[in-house]
Symmetry: C2
Subunit: 408 residues, 2 copies
DNA sequence: ACTATTCGTCATCGCGATGAACAAATTAGT
DNA sequence: ACTAATTTGTTCATCGCGATGACGAATAGT
């Protein structure tokens, strides 16, 4: 289960603090500082973390032996004094493998510790209704190729995470229901080619990719409390709270698609009336736009038609935006996020969806301060899920370096 | 600010782990075990926490010197072996002072470390529109009386928390807006009679009281992930996530009252259309019931008329329940709580509100498992806020014993 | 060359948990 | 009643790990 167990039920079952725990925590602290702030000397790390230079030194020895950090050698800083020895995350050794199964494709990628995508691979594959074991076999072959190439780069993935468009029980490692693939109650093996394998919802992984994106760009610091909306199979929202994915008590948080928008609206397959999906879901938008359903890459098609100036398509998207905005207004009133990010496939339709969403949010979020800029489209778009899947393993190593292998 | 700072913005600004931090954590671990599981011998604590008996011994010495735990003396256990020396939370020394200002009353109470209410006081006081400093002066007098009585019981409150019906910025210690009192942008002094003073929303405190209620009764274990709905001034929902109050990025989470229920519904004073308050708020319910507004204790009045069998009142409450259920269905779909608790004044109307709410939730929460029993009325009712206010200080001491005084 | 800095490492110290040993207090068995 | 077996709580030696302070190394400024 990536990132966070869903309710550790641990009322007060905390572990006692031992000196080994202390060391573990400080290893993570040092590695986290190196991961977050590019090249850093030991002294920089000490200043930033509050640890002593001496302590940082011994911690770095451990991290270096584990192959997690490497030195670039002394770099003239321009200032007086002995120059520091720059530390960076190792671009060899531990890595993360992300896998993705979509309706029409399989994909995988390998990222190194610094989050850089080092390998990527994508193959067309009509998976709709195909037996799951065949799909998984193809996916295994793709993963094997990636692992071979990774070995040539001296990268050694420590875990694999699979992104699935559908409802997933991450803790149990099962796909509860993926309508577009025709999967239901599918238990995935705990290992793939010797790597521990986790499953996760595409929407959640897209949110994590957004959370962990390189903050270096001019986009400002990545928010740690946000709602990430994405539509792939149904409409899902991932809640990120304090930099952690929030799964809810039973792991089913984020079902934005079934938030009631018009309580007396049309019947939804879920059994309720007027769910958001009835206004902003695939079928609803295609119907409103006058397009046939199940038409291949419907998102790309909509984007193309809208760009061409099709009035019905634009109106359909505007109405979807209104519904999304209404549902999100409720969500914002409830959880008060720092930002709302439109991700996944819908990010590509942002140009047509965002104005109506912004208007709706501005009109309905009135009790607290709310700026239009707090709603934006993800720059990652559909690539987010795969990237997020690969990053899960890497982040897990960085946040708990002694957990991987026998570092401690 | 009680309980949890609202977004520590701490991307990776964690403190380094020192051996003093280790001690602090283990003190909290031991004290937490004693607080949670009644009388416990040192050996029991060791077994339960995973610490060594030796370690527990020295930790208990520190806690005893700080006046946080006391010994009951050896108690025959019936089993073979030397009997353990039972440890309990001290019923003297550190305590918590809770204060409450309502539209028609002032109240205060003192709880000891074990959460027991030792002193309670309530005075009628028409506070609507009265100058805030006069109200606070009266409240100070009430607090002074309680502190004098507390001293006779050898209880020494370590902090005071004030429950206010309205929007509060707990971190800044200000009441942003309390419509029913006529307060706006009121900065409260940081101290009251020498005690550090915090302010908090009534709804949030009611939720915390629910969270911290004695689990011993047959009501089963208190949930750690739940939504606590209460209506006092407006309709508020407090989200408790993993046993902590969730405040949102800016501290405004839980505005259930302005979640859109019927997007094209009547205009709300907040500027939006069809907010929940337009269907389940004080004015809406009274109007639907055919009663004059601003009629003293309107909740009690509604409960009385409903119990007498008044059809219009019952129908008004049923419709409010439908609206509440619709809004809550959205909330449940989003955050997947373990339970939903109806608290505050509305708890007294539970008999008339719950059936419609349950029906609505059952119909609209379909993707995940949902049982009707997950929605219930709080047993604390309106007393929750005051109790929660007093418990905040006590819980803070228990969760961080070295923070209070110079324990460490 | 000399001084002022800054960086990284080493020896020493203190704190706090661990583990083993031991006295005290009880029950079970004869 | 006396012994054996347990369980509790404390004491003592030990270990791990960060803090502290000192020292060599490497740079800039004069």
């Amino acid at each position: 289960m990536p990132s966070q167990s869903h309710s550790p039920t641990g009322g007060q079952q905390r572990r006692p603090a031992s000196q080994q725990g202390m060391r573990r925590q400080n290893l993570a602290l040092v590695l986290g500082a190196v991961a977050a702030h590019a090249p850093l000397s030991r002294a920089d790390v000490a200043a930033r973390t509050g640890l002593t230079r001496a302590a940082v030194s011994t911690l770095v020895v451990t991290l270096h032996e584990a192959g997690l950090v490497s030195e670039l050698g002394p770099a003239p800083s321009g200032r007086v004094g002995r120059p520091g020895n720059a530390l960076v995350l190792s671009n060899e050794g531990p890595a993360g493998l992300g896998l993705e199964v979509g309706v029409e494709h399989l994909a995988g990628c390998v990222v190194d510790l610094s989050g850089e995508v080092r390998l990527q691979r994508r193959t067309a594959s009509p998976n709709r209704g195909r037996p799951a074991d065949q799909v998984l076999a193809d996916l295994g072959a793709l993963a094997a190729e990636l692992l071979a190439e990774a070995e040539a780069l001296k990268l050694r993935p420590a875990g694999a995470v699979l992104a699935v468009p559908g409802l997933v029980d991450a803790a149990a490692g099962t796909v509860v229901h993926a309508a577009n693939l025709g999967w239901r109650e599918l238990h995935l093996p705990p290992e793939l080619l010797g790597l521990p394998l986790s499953v996760e919802n595409e929407a959640n992984l897209g949110a994590l990719a957004e959370l962990w994106r390189e903050g270096g760009e001019a986009e400002g610091p990545a928010p740690v409390d946000f709602v990430h909306v994405s539509a792939e199979a149904g409409i899902g929202a991932a809640l990120v709270v304090g930099g952690r994915l929030f799964r809810g008590a039973r792991g089913f948080a984020g079902e934005l698609g079934h938030v009631p928008v018009h309580p007396e609206g049309p019947l939804c397959p879920c059994g309720a009336h007027g769910c958001l999906e009835q206004y902003a879901g695939e079928r609803a938008v295609l119907a409103a736009a006058g397009l046939p359903e199940a038409s291949g890459d419907w998102v790309a098609l909509l984007a193309k038609r809208a760009a061409e100036g099709s009035a019905p398509v634009r109106e359909a998207l505007r109405q979807a935006g209104v519904a999304l905005g209404t549902a999100l207004a409720g969500a914002v009133n409830l959880v008060d996020p720092e930002a709302v990010v439109l991700g996944g496939a819908y990010a590509e339709l942002g140009e047509w969806l965002l104005p109506a969403m912004r208007a709706e949010l501005a009109a309905r979020v009135t009790v607290r301060p709310w700026e239009a800029g707090a709603l934006s489209a993800s720059g990652l778009g559909r690539a987010g899920a795969l990237l997020g899947a690969a990053l899960v393993t890497v982040r897990r190593i960085i946040e708990n370096p002694s957990g991987a292998y026998g570092v401690g």
